[in-house]
Symmetry: C2
Subunit: 347 residues, 2 copies
Amino acid sequence: MNDDKSKMIGLQSIEFIKPPYIIAEGSIVGKKEGEGPLGLYFDKIEEDSFLGKGTWEEAESELMRQAVKIVMEKSGLKKEDVRYLIGGDLLSQLIATSFGIEEFDIPLFGIYGACSTMGEAISIGAILVEGGFADKVLAITSSHYASAEKQFRFPLNYANQRPSCASWTVTGSGAVIISKDKPESNEEVKIIIRGITTGKVVDYGIKDAMNMGAAMAPAAYETIYQNFKDFAIEPDYYDKIITGDLGAVGKDILNDLLKEKGYDASEQLMDCGVEIYNAEQQDTHAGGSGCGCSAATFSSYIIKQLKDQSWKRVLFVPTGALLSPVSFNIGNAVPGIAHAVMVESVE
Amino acid sequence: MNDDKSKMIGLQSIEFIKPPYIIAEGSIVGKKEGEGPLGLYFDKIEEDSFLGKGTWEEAESELMRQAVKIVMEKSGLKKEDVRYLIGGDLLSQLIATSFGIEEFDIPLFGIYGACSTMGEAISIGAILVEGGFADKVLAITSSHYASAEKQFRFPLNYANQRPSCASWTVTGSGAVIISKDKPESNEEVKIIIRGITTGKVVDYGIKDAMNMGAAMAPAAYETIYQNFKDFAIEPDYYDKIITGDLGAVGKDILNDLLKEKGYDASEQLMDCGVEIYNAEQQDTHAGGSGCGCSAATFSSYIIKQLKDQSWKRVLFVPTGALLSPVSFNIGNAVPGIAHAVMVESVE
């Protein structure tokens, strides 16, 4: 270790001198996500959309509670081994998180970055571990189709029509344990967090809350572009560059924006929102969205590919649309934000 | 510097080996706060409750925008000198923050801890600086009386009656610059962040959203108690232990809870919500509340006392009530959280 080497890279990035490990991952999703193309990868598929609770909000808290339990059990850790929990969700005042995690009695940094929240959670988690502030932390987010529709759009009972650019909020939660030390198992392949690129609020003046892919694509573009510049790399440094929930529409816009800057990432680009559903068969239009979309996909399918070394280097870029029903109703635009995490598989 | 020394202290605390400096502070408040006992300490008092905007939410964003401008101007920094902005507010999906800070083009970690948010912002800011991830960061929060009433309680036009335990949301914003290096001025007294104690979600089952002091007092108690234990200190280590917005009711409960554990902190306890208004003359009942209450008080009056060395050691403990209108309406309790920051004046 060279103490003189700066961790600060370029304008917006950090390179971890002692890269933290992701030693466990846990995921839970709803029935629809379980029936999608990634169904086999999730730890748990919950058939009851209320998860035995009386309200959608309590159901979402239960998703988080179960994701914590799964990842703790898989890691073999006790709650006192985890020094911080970093988490958030889409509901006003983060109630899914507050009520979902309170029984675990772990110091909490509540965060909000809309659907980019898992990128922010892993970023802050890695900072805490690499900086010597914690040996192990837990990063988590969730979303629920019904609580999000109630929060942001229309109550389900209105049965309003959805435009083809609209996305479908994923019912799910994903959690990872970030650790200073390698996992205790004898697995040869380890997953490390090499670095991060932290996003800014990016506002291109998009005003259509039903087309969040278009609102978030510029933010994803700016963060990915900055990652290339800060680390002086080309798209093919990565096996995959995986955005959170741009959906089919936003993914095309992102590809075009990068091409305009001379970066052809067509081979690398992938989007959790596109992967998680079979859009035609499942009638999900532009794809999945919500904090739980990227979190559950990362904590299952993406980690699995890295463990198998099908991919060795992934840029994970959850993307958030910074709107609220109030900001939309008073006529504000929908700015975006995207936080990138460089995840690698090493032997 | 001894690299072998752990920064992790006890169960929930961090002691900074190289304590970061607070090199500048900025505050802006509304007319009512300007007329209160701390009026002389704020950088700016805004007479127009709309701050020239068309909605309460945009007015709150404007408070943040101005607080950033004040602290940047006082510090002499340019926006490219600030590597991260850590901030949040009480509005759903943090819209005051997203729209308030977007023009500054600084990487953002959006956070939410209800009215404890300034404690969380300074904590994460100090971690980023001390861990070598940034040379300078900006921590900020805001609240606005009218946007908060609209969000959490009743539209002002309903003119509903307020019980005497109810608090009054502060219109204001406070911001500080946290730096690796000392301020460039030749001032002999420097303000440092010695350590932090990060809170957990604490739920005593309080269900009265009009009595947030009682809901938050147990969280303040648990964080302060843990701070004493982790650092093996007594209340008189501090000149002041300053909670965020417990108000008169919550402050008494906190004092009693500490006494039950054998700690008499009667001399040290102070509450931003109690200090910011003259409750009798200003009809503010239990006192001020909101993210802006502790942030504006810290970024003005508290820093001034430390600079003058009237106080040398302060435990700043913003306190948050983790409720939303939805969680309240579905019958959930109001859990609390409190994040403590050890701020000291050194020569």
